[in-house]
């Protein structure tokens, strides 16, 4: 939990009993909502747009731009908070939900005001029992103080806040899968186009789906102003981010750092270096679905969306997994493929059939029954899934698989029988 001076969302994480509204109010909660409801809704959107705040759920899409996609004359509108944090390696949203739920509620309500939504749904993954409990209690308190419900802060605008739990599926983190799940259906992502739920979302209404972290940033953007927020990070990447650092470092944890913090700084300065003096082998920079980076590729890499993309990977949810020299990449791949084979929703064929097939092939490398042909087969299968599916999660298994096979081919060949 250690971090440097530029704290935005994690500022109050250490405050005792921050989930209680009295403590939260003493620490400035809902001040920005009070400011926002006195502004015009479009001004709030413009302000967020100007700050360069980007989505922290994975795609890194500009939050303000997304809000601007809402069709002018379509009502009702909804705001959905995506708290289905399921990507292996990612563990930042639960901290917000547990330690400062009022910040999220405030951010979601500001967003709802900006797009004039009448309802906020907070969708939290089913396994998060404690975060759900804390957040649900916080919502009740917000209602009691008049921050949610009818005629919020005498602005004449009403917005209700609802809690919704997933049933434990990775796919429900995909925004249209999440919407289907909330509608009471199987969490199968919707066919695109329409590309954005902002046009046709929950119950067919315009819907903003934003990650927990993204919305939690909104009050802070209003507080320090868009210029100061943008100045914190690199150009095009405003503000800070919660980096979930895990793997073979001495101090794993969630760190709030400015966007563009060098990867090596994160590992060595904040993470305390690789455990037991081992050598760094590779880093997965943005959750398990991103391309793996070799140790050489990690040098001089600022952690922002564009820089990571320029190395052929993605920052995604900023879940940095550090892998040291003791790790066998074929085993790592088997672990990764097993996750995706288990979580594939089964709606479209390449992912449903392909993940299962990849799993069987990757098992061969563990069992020692693999042949060299299997390396090429796996690459080809992954390529056959990549980009051929309804949602982006087909690529989520294809990208890492392909990058492991290409960048660490020698390790695969070493365990082949011929």
């Amino acid at each position: 939990m250690a971090a440097n001076g530029n704290l935005l969302i994690s500022r109050n994480f250490a405050v005792e009993n921050m989930a209680s509204i009295d403590v939260a109010l003493k620490n400035g909660a809902y001040d920005q909502l009070k400011r926002a409801v006195k502004m015009k809704p479009e001004e709030v959107t413009e302000l967020v747009k100007a700050s360069g705040l980007r989505g922290h759920g994975g795609a890194g899409f500009s939050a303000g731009t997304k809000w601007g996609f809402i069709p002018k004359d379509k009502f009702p509108r909804y705001v959905t908070v995506n708290g289905d944090e399921s990507e292996p390696g990612t563990c930042k949203d639960r901290l917000i939900l547990e330690r400062d739920p009022h910040l999220l509620i405030e951010g979601a309500l500001i967003c709802a005001y900006a797009v004039q939504a009448e309802r906020v749904y907070i969708y939290i993954r089913g396994e998060y029992f404690y975060p759900t409990k804390v957040t649900a209690e916080a919502v009740k308190q917000a209602y009691a103080k008049g921050f949610a419900g009818k005629n919020i802060l005498n602005s004449g605008w009403s917005c209700s806040v609802h809690m919704h739990n997933g049933a434990g599926a990775y796919i429900c983190g995909e925004e249209t899968g999440l919407i289907e799940s909330m509608e009471g259906k199987k969490g199968w992502p919707r066919l695109k186009p329409p590309f954005y739920p902002a046009a046709i979302g929950l119950y067919g209404a315009p819907t903003i789906v934003n990650n927990v972290e993204t919305l939690a940033f909104v009050p802070r953007v209003m507080e320090i102003g868009p210029e100061k927020f943008a100045a914190l990070g690199t150009p095009k990447n405003g503000g800070t981010a919660l980096y979930s650092l895990s793997g073979h470092v001495n101090n794993p944890g969630v760190y709030e750092l400015p966007m563009g913090t060098p990867l090596m700084d994160l590992i060595h300065k904040f993470g305390g270096g690789i455990r037991n003096g081992h050598k760094l082998k590779a880093v997965i920079p943005g959750g398990s679905s991103s391309h793996i980076l070799t140790a050489e590729e990690c040098e001089n890499l600022p952690l922002d969306f564009e820089s990571v993309a320029s190395r052929g990977s993605m920052l995604g949810s900023a879940a940095v997994m550090v892998i040291d020299e003791t790790v066998s990449i074929p085993k790592l791949m088997h672990w990764m493929v097993r996750f995706y084979a288990h979580e594939s929703c089964g709606q479209c064929t390449p992912c449903r059939e392909g993940c299962d097939w990849l799993l069987r092939l990757s098992k061969k490398f563990i069992d020692g029954t693999a042949r060299k042909r299997d390396i090429d087969d796996m690459w080809e299968l992954a390529d056959n899934i990549d980009g051929k599916t309804i949602c982006a999660l087909g690529a989520a298994v294809a990208w890492p698989t392909k990058s492991y096979l290409v960048k660490f081919r020698h390790e695969f060949e070493a365990v082949c029988r011929n």
Binding site: L191, C345, G346, Q347, C348, T349, R352, E353, D356, W357
Partner: protein, 558 residues
Amino acid sequence: MPWLEIDGKPVDVPAGMNLIEAARLLNVEIPHYCYHAGLTVVGSCRMCQVEVEIGGRKSIAIGCNTKAADGMKVTTKSKAVFKLRRSILEFYLQHHPLDCPICDDAGECDLQNYYMSHGLHDSRVALDEKKHKHKVMDVGPTVVLDSERCVLCSRCIRFCREITGTAELGIFNHGRDNELLTVPGKQLDNDYSGCVVDICPVGALTDKDFRFKRRVWYMKRTASVCTGCSRGCNVFVDWEIDRRYKDPERRIQRLKPRYNRMVNEWWMCDQGRYSYHAVDAPNRISTPRVNVQGNGHVPSTDEVLTRAADKIQSALKRQGAGSVAVLATSASSNEDLFLLNRLFIDKLKVQNIDTTFGFEKLGKQDEILKRADLTPNRRGALEMQIKPSGDGQSGDDLLAAAVEGEFDVLVVVRHDLSAALSERDLTKLRKNTGYILYLASHDNGLSAIADDVLPLAMWAEREASYTNFQGRVQRTRKPFEPRGMALPEWELWQLLGQKLGLAASYDSVPAVFDALGATFEGYKGLTWDSLGNSGKMLITAPDPVYKKVQTSQPLPAY
């Protein structure tokens, strides 16, 4: 109207049409499993991927969910697209049980077809790696499900949700264990359940009625029309009479719905689908019969007709037109009713004649296809004015009068009066009536007591046209010859007419129809050749709007 290029050929398509349909206009097939023009688009099979170039940008898109746009260049046959489909097909065949030799769908299966056109690869999956799912599941009264063959295209699920609204099917379990099953506690039991077999692109859903009966490549196909109710769904008759080692009496193997946008779209009801069993039912009448003085003697058709003509003529001469009654039926075709009209109404001036009776069974009517009126041609009977005139009695009064013995000669077409009357009334009718001529295709209580019985050819044994409730005239075609000595009804009327001085002598159904067209107002301008495959509206009937089309897709005829 977007103008685009598909495989280098330019085509103009209606706005909003997707690429699969647009390609169909050029007779280019884009392979697909989950897309069906009558159902919503889910885009899950990924088989219909094509290369789309628009504004200089090339991308891969699925044909079902990509709307044709101006200036689009679509490539369906490039090497890259071919490889894409091949890879998807390989995913499908990964766990396929390869039981084509015992699969009813073999020969009309899209897995087979696309394997021949795209795959032809050796399996990279070892036999013991294949996953097993449920086989031979009895999911309802008409359908058997084999989950291993299923490609999870969800067409059947969408059919049961969007068309029938019964929602009996669903995909259960997660990811690679996905399986098509019935909803717990439910059976696939609705009035249109057979349609899921038609739309299943593979052999996962098979028809109990057709299972293991014939290989599809042995069958011949005839475009026809269902005569089970007044809608007249367009059908294909699939028949086979050469390989009769099994079910030698079964000539029709199955009926399949035939697309007609204005009548039945892609669907037909189960009642119509299995109605073909009547054609080769054991109680078919195949020879003329004399019941009263017959003593086992099998008369010729001519013998019976001569006697009938005698009886009719002498009754008319002795007691006038009131002594003859005809219980006709709207189950007869336009041609039958035309000659019936010419003979009894025009020539003999019989007044006691009608087609509509209270005892006729009504069916269940719904919003989809089924009509309560179970006769295919009531509209035709109306147009041809088969109704009582002068002092003639109508409907139930006519029947009651017959029971009371008011008629000397009674001609009954098809109606099973033994089901309509009590046993006492039937005996009374028999005792009170001098001569009963019965024209029927099946044995029943009346055929046992009528004086003379003449066998009728059924719809599959003759050509005919019917006018459905909308006023659409549609024709059936003749797959095979009538059973035994059975003849089409119009031929019998013509032969009888010739003995009674009627000048009519038509040599074929088209000739009758064309004469009909020249005689009756509604049929003006219609000729046999103009009916074509999808029928023509009567000029007196307004063009009907069949019903709301369920999809946003425009529906081209194909």
